[in-house]
Amino acid sequence: MATSVQRWWHKLVWPWSPLSEREASEAIVRNLWLHWFPAKVSGRSMSWSYSLWLGTVAASLFVILTVTGVMLMFFYVPSTERAYGSIKDLQYAVSFGRILRNQHRWAAEGMVALVFIHMARVFFTGAYRGARVLNWLVGVALLLLTLMLSFTGYLLPWDQLAYWAITVGTNIASEAPVLGPTFKYLLLGGHFVGQQTLLRFYVLHVFFLPAVVWILFAYHMWRVRKDGGLAAIEPLRAMRRAEPKEMPRSKSYSLFGLTPGTSVAVMSSMGLEERDQVASSPNLTRRMILVFLVVFNITLLLSLLVNAPLEGPANPSVTPNPAKAPWYFVWLQELVASTTVHLGKVTISGGLVGGILVPGVLLAALILWPFFDRSTVSAEGVWFARERTRQNVVFAVITVAIIILIIVGMYLRGPYWRLYWPWSPRPVLPRVL
């Protein structure tokens, strides 16, 4: 009895504490969960200071979002009459429901931030070059999907915040040339944000978009392997390739007896040597679990301390004053509010310029950037390579500009979207209705 329990226990845990190098490699190959890791990993790929583990943090947040999201689905009713009430129930009637919703909310905002910061890391380390271009494009798609998930999830509580953010957002979509109004009609399932819209956004949010993200995420990870691991090892790999290879000594039989000679040198497909690498299990897996746990605990702590916002129920006749988008879209709100162009008699709405053209240009830049990057291999996998200074400055300036717009939108905009200093008094407005 005891031995069979021991055997089962061993079956479950043995990959986590392998007794030999060989067992560690086999664990990776044979284990369902571990097979997508390489058997060996270089110290530099695993280091905290190179990648900052940002991709893993973003992925951890997505796991948290999936699990808390599925749990929220048990309580949420996607109907205009009951959506708001079901969120209120989660806040006040369901045991620990508030924490569940808070964690979903903070993990979601964290994921938007982390996916972007992860992208910034990849940019600043020049890690999208060469064969990794395709994975950069997958990453850009994942960033867009993250934003779409936020946007669709934003409507679900059916409060004032939700209703007006989606009204403004879908009106921006309708400013797109030619297909804009059709796209808005398709997205809303009508002309106004209503029951059809809620249902469509719900299905997109809980099934369609997460499914696409999971598929692309799997592909993203697979490509990391196929592209030869993190770009962090490129400098080391180049160094190893340049080193003269010492042929292993061997002895063979000749006509005159034993003759010393050399045998073939075998290099790993990674282009690294044994001494550059350690077994993925448990070195990599241990860190991964640690990162996940830290991320989980931070979101949990936030959820205990700060409640997810919930305003009054959606009211189509009264717009809150000021009506603000969530922080990661507020820079777009700043843009749409200030980019209406008058050219003689022709007026181009800020919805088109700031809501579609500017973000469209930024997106095109992200997609096309790797193809115009002329830096050399020596700038690959290195933070702030001198060769790439100009590119890094451009990226940093755009990022800082977006952050400034976010700060202005979040803290300096008062009623009627006018500018106020954070400390200056804002007019108290009579409630409309």
Partner: protein
């Protein structure tokens, strides 16, 4: 290339199966464009003309302003032409809370990102004596509906 009857029939067979597949995808996509909308009709009735005070009255249900000057009435949309928020009447002008557009008393843009003036809707008197608005029909600024003198 040999084009005997067998080859042609085979391609017709494969082609029709593929065409049916594509058509089915098209049909599935078409389902997402609703044919029936459960939205309020664009023509609706308001109060009786004499129920409105002089000046600007906000109708929250239909998101519009009924403006009365003596016995002349006109109706201005309260939906901002920028991105669809509800504008507020501030005594001398309309202000939008979302992106700061400002419109004068006739709905013309004074400032902010709004690209067009607030539209005026057609007003008439329904047979049962109520103001009737057709929000699908815009009328030029300055048009007004004058109530018959015995009503006002």
């Amino acid at each position: 290339m040999e084009t005997d009857r067998r080859t042609i029939l085979r391609w017709l067979g494969k082609g029709s199966v593929f065409a049916a597949f594509i058509a089915q995808i098209g049909a599935a996509a078409r389902a997402f464009f609703p044919n029936v909308l459960y939205e309020p009709p664009s023509t609706f009735k308001l109060e009786r003309p004499e129920d409105y005070p002089q000046g600007y009255s906000f109708n929250s249900e239909h998101r519009l302003f009924v403006v009365r000057a003596a016995n002349k009435f006109h109706v201005i949309s309260a939906i901002c032409t920028h991105l669809g928020c509800t504008v507020q009447w501030r005594g001398t002008e309309f202000d939008c809370p979302c992106h700061g557009s400002r419109f004068d008393a006739n709905g013309n843009v004074i400032a902010g990102p709004a690209p067009r003036p607030l539209p005026w809707f057609e007003v008439s008197l329904s047979p049962d004596g109520l103001l009737e608005v057709d929000s699908a029909e815009t009328v030029p600024q300055g048009s007004a509906f004058t109530t018959p003198t015995e009503k006002a």
